[in-house]
């Protein structure tokens, strides 16, 4: 097969490694997903490009969720999460905006829509935004989020997780996902994590704990790499 090799290669996602909907106990997965299968389209320039510098607009620089002001430290287990944002060739993606949000140590979000009867922490908002460096590395401090039950779902509890949104070099490389912690007993029962039909795809959403003896600080550290869609997708700096 001859293949014209454009400078970028995007293929539709492997469906077996992406969530299948609807999901039991999550009514919005019924109401909000189209009945018609998505329509195949050519990937034209609009899809293959994307905003290269969102820093002025989104103003990243908030990578410590555990301290909201000097001396005001969130309750919970202090953790450090780091890793690389890669393209499918394993090249680091520089300059990607990484947005994070999560529940507090008691499993409650600082969000007026979370009306659960669990305590809010006055020292924890749980949102941050950072930028990958030249090698595609990102890192942030936070506290380990608590688990929380999903309302009206028949005792489905979300395991501890961090929501992550990444704005990479192309609109086709856009990614929103959730990071889980390896070894959590609730992972085996989570309906979102297990909505990936291919069981081999699930561990890729799990952060790995770095052995404490390798961590130079008084926190627990986790490592998690993120792969954005696209081969040869990392554009040269303009």
């Amino acid at each position: 097969m001859t293949r014209r090799d454009p400078p970028d290669l995007f293929a539709p996602y492997d469906e077996s490694a992406q969530p299948a909907v609807p999901i039991e106990g999550y009514a919005n997965t019924f109401r909000r997903n189209p009945a018609r299968p998505p329509i195949p389209r050519p990937y034209t320039r609009t899809a293959r490009t994307g905003p290269l510098d969102l820093s002025p607009k989104l103003k990243p620089g908030d990578d410590n969720l555990a301290v909201i002001a000097p001396g005001r430290i969130a309750l919970g287990q202090l953790i450090h999460v780091s890793g690389r944002v890669l393209d499918e060739d394993g090249r680091g993606v520089p300059g990607a905006v990484v947005e994070l949000w999560q529940a507090n140590a008691a499993g409650r979000y600082f969000n007026p829509l979370d009306t659960r009867d669990a305590p809010l922490d006055p020292n924890f908002v749980g949102n941050g935004r950072t930028l990958t460096d030249r090698e595609g590395r990102y890192a942030f401090f936070t506290i380990k989020p608590g688990a929380y039950p999903v309302p009206d779902s028949g005792r489905w509890w979300r395991p501890p997780h961090v929501h992550v949104s990444i704005l990479g070099p192309s609109t086709l490389s856009r990614l929103v996902t959730q990071m889980y912690f390896s070894g959590e007993p609730l992972n085996a029962h989570d309906r979102l994590l297990n909505s990936l039909p291919d069981a081999a795809a699930r561990p890729r959403l799990l952060a790995r704990q770095i052995p404490p003896q390798e961590v130079e600080g008084e926190w627990l550290a986790f490592s998690w790499d993120i792969v954005l869609r696209g081969r040869h997708a990392t554009p040269p700096a303009p």
Binding site: P7, P12, A17, Q18, P19, V21, Y26, N28, T29, R31, R32, N33, P34, A35, I39, P40, R41, P42, Y43, T44, R45, T46, A47, T49, G50, P51, P56, K57, L86, E88, D89, G90, E99, W101, A103, F110, N111, P112, L113, D114, N127, H163, P169, S170, T171, L172, R174, L175, V176, T177, L192, S195, A201, R202, R204, I226, V227, L228, P235, P238
Partner: protein, 204 residues
Amino acid sequence: MIRPNAPLPPTAWHTIGPFFPRTFFREGDNDLTRLSAEAAPTARGEHILLRGRVLEEGGRPCVNAVLEAWQADAAGRFRHPLDPGWREADPDFLGWGRAWTDAEGAYSFRTVMPGGYADPAGPRAPHVDLAVLASGIMRRLVTTVFFPDFPDANEADPVLRAVPEGLRHLLVARPDGRSEGLRAFRFDLLLRGAPDAETPFFVD
């Protein structure tokens, strides 16, 4: 680590869930015409408003949806190295914006009328790509907005042509009067509904 023959599998998508932080939205995020809230808007092109509602099954408003828009500048160029003309792209135009829906499911963008361009896949009509994120949407939904000003270009557009003929009108925004001194266009999205009313979405 470059593995040209063994690409890494892309990380799986998940929903934004019900608690996407409201503090992530700032004034001007839904304004594509400027690089930041502080920057002056671009002087090129016709400034327009693109607005509408996001509805879920039964026509109920989809509250707290996030819409992300991406489009070419007024001359049909992208400030991105994959566009051969990127050096001539409008330096004051970002082309990206993010809007969110209110209790009625309503959203609004301020932008410029995009230019069309020649793509290897065919001549692209002026258009805005929209991605929808919301609780329960496990992978973003992607669609494209076209404009009623360009019926001939729309007819030739390779992406619009991929849509069954009877549904193409659903992807063409409607004139919606004037606001803030600008022409406004209306584009409603029905995430799930009758086959002749549900918004066509594309393979991402």
